[in-house]
């Protein structure tokens, strides 16, 4: 059997070399590959590069509302960035972003993983239930945001009502600077569970059942099975899930905006909210600082992306 494959390999390689020798420059396959990727490349150029360039352009000029319409903004170099970084809100926004993203990711991942493991072996209704877990995704964010805002209303919210039944005092979820961030993190965790569930569940499906059977024959309990088999084999999937989760969570605006508009007293203002508020939240659109904050956000995401790539490469080498 193996000899056949080896023979076929040889023939294939020789055929490839023959073909390559007949053309100069790029290997033929490269042209084909380029052809297949061409729609994507055109797409990326038009739809991502252009908005990015505009955003950079907005941030290095002083776009007052008048200049925005007239198109004659003054070039101010990095002064928008300097202003933003030296603003008293900067430190707070960074802190809030870290808390928001960190808190969301950890719990989204943990709960998603727990659910994925729970659903791993199919049982009655497991398919239907798993699909129902995705329903939160169907809802427009204004709807989910509003529902959470109602549930967490200090006076008429069902959360305080249920807490009252078990004897806990009502909490001013959305109106107290101490708990506003907690409230939006909880809502965001809820929104992120479906994504994590789907990806992690699929990752679990690819771990062969035999490994688990061998382990249980050896007497390993489910806890040990999880930590020695499941978790290590899920590492690449975990990495991509967390990275994508990070990128998506950094951008989140709608849920926080609908629930608290970044308040009270900037308690739930993340970098994304700050950027949005500068551009659209007041009667005086401040496009340039908004773009500056937005670009800082992209840089942070970029650094995390580079970190991920570096770690991945190290892993592949080892």
């Amino acid at each position: 059997m193996t000899t056949d494959v080896a023979d076929r390999d040889d023939v294939a390689h020789r055929a490839d070399r023959v073909r390559t020798r007949r053309r100069g420059g790029l290997e033929t396959t490269q042209w084909v590959a380029l052809a297949f990727a061409a729609p994507l490349l055109v797409y990326l150029l038009g739809f991502y590069v252009y908005p990015l360039l505009r955003s950079v352009d907005l941030s290095v000029h002083d776009y007052t509302v008048r200049a925005f319409v007239q198109g004659d903004a003054e070039f101010v170099g990095l002064s928008n960035y300097r202003e933003v970084i030296s603003s008293p809100l900067f430190g707070k926004a960074i802190m809030n972003t870290v808390v928001f993203v960190g808190g969301s990711l950890i719990f989204q991942y943990a709960i998603g993983l727990a659910l994925a493991v729970f659903f791993r072996s199919s049982f009655r209704l497991s398919g239907v239930l798993r699909a129902l877990f995705l329903v939160p995704w169907l809802l427009p964010l204004i709807v989910s945001g509003s529902v959470w805002a109602w549930m967490m209303n200090s006076e008429s919210g069902v959360v305080n009502f249920l807490l009252g039944i078990v004897g806990v005092d009502p909490i001013n979820w959305l109106t107290s600077p101490d708990t506003a961030m907690l409230a939006v993190v909880i809502a965001n965790i809820w929104l992120g569970i479906p994504f994590n569930l789907v990806i992690l569940y699929s990752g679990l499906q690819n771990i062969p059942e035999d490994l688990y059977e061998a382990a249980s024959l050896d007497g390993a309990g489910s806890g040990k099975q999880f930590w020695s088999i499941t978790f290590p084999l899920l590492r690449p999937v975990t990495a991509i899930t967390l990275l994508l989760g990070l990128v998506y969570t950094l951008k989140v605006v709608d849920i926080i905006w609908v629930m608290t508009t970044g308040g009270p007293a900037d308690a739930s203002t993340t970098l994304a909210i700050w950027s949005y508020r500068e551009a659209f939240g007041t009667g005086r659109p401040d496009m340039s600082p908004a773009a500056a904050v937005g670009n800082i956000l992209i840089v942070i995401a970029l650094l995390c992306g580079l970190l991920y790539t570096y770690v991945q490469r190290r892993q592949e080498e080892s």
Binding site: Y43, L132, F133, S156, N206, L233, I240, V253, G294, T309
Partner: protein, 272 residues
């Protein structure tokens, strides 16, 4: 091979799902609630004085918008697959030079906030005459899913057995034939997964619709909801009724597609 189907798992599963869907239940609750009872304290766990006015309004006005949303969702799926699948094939199996960089760029592409994208698109669309068209909205919504789709499909395709690919080459099949007759059918599950994500993301998009397609003859349901948001007044039961009506068909779609989503997502990412 022991297949354990413990009933307690089903019970626990139902409880967990119920917990997760509680906010959705609340949405349902509000859709039947009269405006005067929306803020009653303590809150009504069941709509005690139900009203159908929200549903009447939604059914009378939102059905065409629902159709548009469906059209946009499906169009977005088609668009995403058309762009992402060949590119993933090129990256994973045709060994496109610079695929590492492209991989990274696709990650970066997802880092742009939606607002930045929408404003950039506005300028492009005005010049290309795509403003206020369904086609333009489909294009814009696909930008949400395409980078993710490429990453996912490339990861999966990279895990396809090498022998199959080489065998087909010997037989003289061109790259295109290999793509259509071997790779695509094998990638069915991940294609469906990408379709699911693309559909859901397009279905719930608001910001592109709002910036680029306000005056379109056909608007998606996320914009249609704003019929009920006046300058100073909001008709919440109608909004929630619209959301409920919009979710029902999509929920069935989810249940149908879930079976395929299972095994296809990350076959390539886990290298044993």
């Amino acid at each position: 091979m022991m297949h354990r189907r413990p009933w307690w798992k089903t019970v626990l599963g139902v409880v967990l799902t119920a917990l997760m869907l509680f906010p959705v239940y609340w949405m349902l609750n509000v859709s039947f609630t009269q405006t005067g009872n929306l803020r009653s304290s303590p809150p009504h766990l069941l709509p005690l004085e139900p009203t159908l006015e929200g549903y009447r309004a939604a059914l009378a006005q939102q059905l065409p918008n629902l159709g548009t949303s469906l059209l946009i969702g499906l169009g977005c799926v088609a668009m995403t697959l058309v762009i992402a699948a060949p590119a993933a094939y090129a990256m994973a199996l045709l060994h496109l030079r610079g695929r590492g960089t492209l991989n990274f760029l696709l990650l970066v592409a997802q880092m742009l906030p939606a607002v930045v994208m929408a404003m950039g698109f506005y300028a492009i669309y005005v010049r290309m005459g795509l403003l206020n068209t369904v086609w333009g909205l489909i294009l814009a919504d696909s930008t949400i899913a395409v980078p993710f789709g490429v990453l996912l499909l490339a990861a999966f395709m990279a895990g396809l057995p090498r022998e199959l690919m080489q065998a087909s080459r010997i037989d003289g099949a061109g790259a295109w034939t290999a793509f259509t007759s071997i790779v695509l059918p094998l990638s069915r599950n991940s294609l469906i997964t990408v379709s699911l994500f693309a559909f859901l993301w397009a279905w719930s998009d608001f910001i592109f619709a709002s910036t680029l397609a306000r005056n379109s003859a056909l608007i998606p349901v996320t914009l249609g909801i704003y019929n009920y948001i006046g300058n100073n007044t909001t008709q919440w039961n109608a909004i929630m009724a619209t959301a409920v009506i919009a979710s029902v068909p999509a929920a069935f779609l989810l249940i149908a597609a879930q079976r395929y989503v299972a095994a296809g997502v990350t076959a390539g990412a886990v290298k044993d």
